[in-house]
Symmetry: C2
């Protein structure tokens, strides 16, 4: 089918953000923090994770602090000092949080993509 929309549809990009907040609307978990936590676990270091994702250390540190303040217990096991300067890994709770968010994304990602494809198809009709 050919509609007025047709020639533009291939230029449309889909975006979405999913996040969770406390009742003050302070973001306590979202795609950025999720990705960061995963990479910290992988790298064993906040700094290394920040460098790879291109976030500033300053910003990341503040964001992660918000999460811990909300939950009231640490998600990160942070160590300072040593020749290597220090390192950071996830606590058991941190790992559980990441894992739960993994499952969450697994549930929704495909559906959103599917919905988007249907959206495009619908405009082609």
């Amino acid at each position: 089918m050919e509609t007025k929309f047709s020639n533009k549809l291939s230029d449309i990009r889909l975006h979405y953000k999913i996040w969770m907040s406390d009742d003050q609307e302070t973001g306590i978990m979202g795609d950025g923090k999720w990705q960061m936590l995963k990479l910290i676990e992988e790298k064993g270091s906040m700094k290394a994770a920040c460098d790879e994702l291109g976030y500033t250390y300053r910003r990341t540190w503040g964001n992660l602090k918000k999460i811990e303040q909300f939950f009231g217990f640490p998600l990160l096991d942070k160590t300072r000092g040593g020749t290597d300067g220090g390192h950071t890994v996830l606590t058991e709770e941190g790992k559980r949080l990441v894992k739960a968010f993994d499952a969450f994304h697994n549930t929704v990602d495909d559906q959103i993509q599917l919905g988007f494809e249907r959206f495009i198809q619908e405009l082609k009709k």
Copy 2:
């Protein structure tokens, strides 16, 4: 089950935004614009829709212009003048766009909510 997370889980709120952009990352369709287009059709007026949603007319006008510029044809049928000052309704294409986005949300909303509930359940374990 009782975990460290338990006493905070009821305070967590879910948020999500889904939108589409052109390749310049200019937003061409999203929840805000979608809601606005629907309300314009219902009210027959941009101003009335803005007042109800609490958006400024200025902002809305600029946003809607972006969409039309991207597609290259009007989504809104705007009339100025007359005792009532003017009115705005959707063109056929505007209606189709809104309808496609309606269907899109129908596809994903329930899934996201379901995923969130599972997320909470997972942390309770």
